[in-house]
Assembly symmetry: C2
Homo-oligomer: 324 residues x 2
Amino acid sequence: MSNRNRNYAIVGTGALGGFYGARLQKADLEVNFLLRSDYEHVKKHGLIVESPEGDFTLPEVRAYHDAHQMPKCDVVIVAIKTTQNHLLPKILPPLLKDNGVVLVLQNGLNIEVEIAKIVGAERVIGGLCFLCSYKVGPGHICHLDYGTITLGDYSQDYKPLGITNRLNQIAKDFKRAHIPIKMSENLLLSRWKKLVWNIPYNGLSVVLNARTDELMANPDTRILVEEIMGEVVAGAKSCDRIIPDDFIQNMLDYTHKMKPYRTSMKIDYDESRPLEVEAIFGNPIRVAQQAGIKLPQIEVLYRMLKFMDAQNQEAERKRQLLSL
Amino acid sequence: MSNRNRNYAIVGTGALGGFYGARLQKADLEVNFLLRSDYEHVKKHGLIVESPEGDFTLPEVRAYHDAHQMPKCDVVIVAIKTTQNHLLPKILPPLLKDNGVVLVLQNGLNIEVEIAKIVGAERVIGGLCFLCSYKVGPGHICHLDYGTITLGDYSQDYKPLGITNRLNQIAKDFKRAHIPIKMSENLLLSRWKKLVWNIPYNGLSVVLNARTDELMANPDTRILVEEIMGEVVAGAKSCDRIIPDDFIQNMLDYTHKMKPYRTSMKIDYDESRPLEVEAIFGNPIRVAQQAGIKLPQIEVLYRMLKFMDAQNQEAERKRQLLSL
């Protein structure tokens, strides 16, 4: 990765990739956007970002619909949903400079392992986003709240690397683009910590058709959230990642004080998009299982979500057939 | 309990109590029906039963709306939902002859324990119904299929009593009314066995809005059903009731061959009636817990159902307020 004037690629120019990519370009970095359905529109009209931190428009962006047409980049940001990761073996290799890195801004566990199989473990960096944004229309993103990214470097088997030089370089670019950055010395621990929130709230919000405030107000789901969080902590421990005792209580207090919130998985479900069940639920279950630890309550959520996702996608296929 | 010409009381003249009570009266037994909302109608018009085994009408029945007005009976059949059991301490004592018995035709676990607190353990008999019927309107019952009752005598702590004399006497009356009867020498074992079916299918059908055939067709819910059945067997074992190894597979095969079926709890949910969550889920969890055994997957179902039940009842209250 070059020391200065790093160029970026955004794989997946949606609510997340579009937001961060637009911010980077606005900070005068070279950003190349890979698009699918929105390609024609964005090529012609650029990107619009509405945000409480200031609206802005980028009338011209480097838009592409084929990774082979794009310039090789120092940092390739993966911002598609994990349900589309089967596309990456064709996309990533032609996009990456010889000494470039892939920054994976996806939810779930073992995501870096999958990407490492394509580009090599030494070329992968993980990022955990805490962002509320959604796509209003093609190339039009509405940023609602938050936006911090926690960066953590990756090496084989998640051996902690500390804060590396390349992590600092990327952080510098993001800070220049006014994106708040935190650094993690232990990427796998950070991923498990994020799952302490994501697994109970994403899962229960879909299964029970409920917002976070409803799950916290009912005494039974309040207990269930806490028990499931306990299983996530047990899963982390099975990987020798110790989440401190007060972490769960802090998460509960924090969520209790949050505005009523529809989780990202619930939004995906309501919009009939495929759910990231394997990345967020299946992988943690399998990782713990390999260490001999069962996560029975998370498994209930996992199988329920797989059922609901299958039914949802089947209904969506039927709707699309009818609208042909 | 008298040796001949036993008279009966039906507490709860709905789809189940109305069906069995009407059959007993049709066989020339004295049956006294306790009703609430349907009292006026049934007093005037009697009962109608539609059934594949033959439709029939009882233009006149002994209908009551107050247990104190009723004659004391040899056999008092409890056929209300367990969610109404708080009414029984006022209903049962005035209804029961000195040597009479209460036959509890309710779902769930530890039901007999509750009734024994009111009338004494030596006056309780359990019955497990396998019946598909529903109430078309006041005093109008549609019997769809099945109807077998498994009778089992009760004593303190579910100590097995074998097939008692009074069990045989009641069985004789029911057989005279063409109601198929099985006998259980071990009531608690029979109750746990019934839960092997009721817990997964009732629970998942409500949470996932699904019929039995849909739960069996999807590979994830198919596995989940089997795992939850395994927890019920573990719960039974915590009470020293051993369910044989092939029982689960037989249940799965049996359900797979069944017609698509909407479970009774799903029907209750769809009709905005309170769910029997404590009897069917809460009691088994607590009984196992007391023996030091956790049933984590059943607990997920339990808490989800409590949440959904609360939301459903809250919505129902609002509807009723609006319609005033």
